[in-house]
Amino acid sequence: MSQALASSLLTALVSGIFALTILRRWWQGRRAHQLAWGIGMGMYFTGALSQVILTQAWSPTFFALWYWCGALMTAPWLGQGTVYLLLRRGNIARNIQMALLLVAVMTLPWALWFTPLDGSAWRPQADMTALFRDIMPAGSGTVRFFSPVMNTWGTLALVGGAIWSARLFRRKQIMRARVYGNWLIAAGGLLPALGGTLIRLGEPSLKYMAEMAGAILIFAGFLLATRPAPQEP
């Protein structure tokens, strides 16, 4: 079993369990940020599972799902959870969610059916991040236009929001668990992006480890940050 396959399999397993845990919490409490994080983790899981399948066989459907989930949807949905926690004024968070839903509804059929893919560039056991530019060349017919916008927004919202919250709670000297939780979320949000940088620096083997560590850190941070505050005596 190659390292890419093993790490992707583990990432899929971990993110799948995390997605189910968060969605179960949402089902019990119906808090909007939990739903957004649950969807984000679900996207993380689908992206990792698609990568597992793509290391074994070429499939245009799973390639489209891998790109749509991994490059377009995971970061903004995870960021949306933080947006719900931070932007409580007016309906800003709900409006951003609707914009995100609209982009999701637009880009899914676009990625699945309207983007020309070159399957001949695929190789077994290969890293999709290294191959996707050959499989899906840039052009007006692809969804690649949305990727930098969605990722920049998602990472800014997730990492920036977590750092901002951590600093806020630290300054107020309250809820120490939330300070640590938010730092973990920030670190977890940055790790997959760091994995992409490692590939560009010629070290692709750590990319999957970074993705897996990112999922674990975000989930650990989520558990810490949403732990109920201790009651005053």
Partner: protein, 157 residues
């Protein structure tokens, strides 16, 4: 939702008449063409009108919501329903043209066409279910995005 006053009802009737008149003028103006190409002209012109109206509504939403800090009026909401209806008509015409064998310049035009129909309902839902008022921000988002999508739709059609 507050009931519409008589003046507002008249304005809405004028808006509905203007849309019908617009459609009739486009069809008459292209009477030399085959019925299919007349419908294509109507589809194109409704798309262009959608872009202009979306920009105007964005400006109005900014004026009411941000500058005056007022809430959505029943007239504004009703006008949004009309615009959604005209976008739906435009998309249905596109679907009919596609079924009849006409194709857009780029395939993604279909995606943008679908998005012009979906853009407003998402934000209408937020506004109509909002517990926090005023909620004009939803229409700034909705019409702003509709303008962008309509522009891309025209460029790929």
């Amino acid at each position: 939702m507050k009931a519409l006053r008589q003046r507002e009802r008249r304005l809405l009737a004028a808006l509905a008449t203007a849309i019908l008149l617009f459609c009739a003028l486009v069809l008459v103006g292209n009477s030399g063409l085959t019925p299919l190409h007349q419908l294509r002209a109507l589809h194109d012109q409704l798309g262009r009108a959608g872009l202009v109206i979306a920009l105007l509504m964005t400006a109005q939403a900014v004026r009411v919501g941000i500058l005056r800090k007022n809430d959505v009026t029943p007239l504004f909401r009703a006008a949004t329903f009309f615009i959604f209806g005209s976008m739906l008509l435009q998309a249905l015409l596109g679907l009919l043209l596609y079924a009849e064998g006409l194709r857009p310049a780029q395939d993604v035009h279909i995606i943008y066409g679908m998005a012009t129909v979906l853009a407003l309902p998402f934000f209408m839902f937020v506004e109509m279910t909002a517990r926090k008022r005023p909620a004009m921000g939803s229409y700034i988002w909705g019409f702003g995005l509709l303008a962008g999508i309509a522009l891309r739709s025209i460029l790929t059609g």
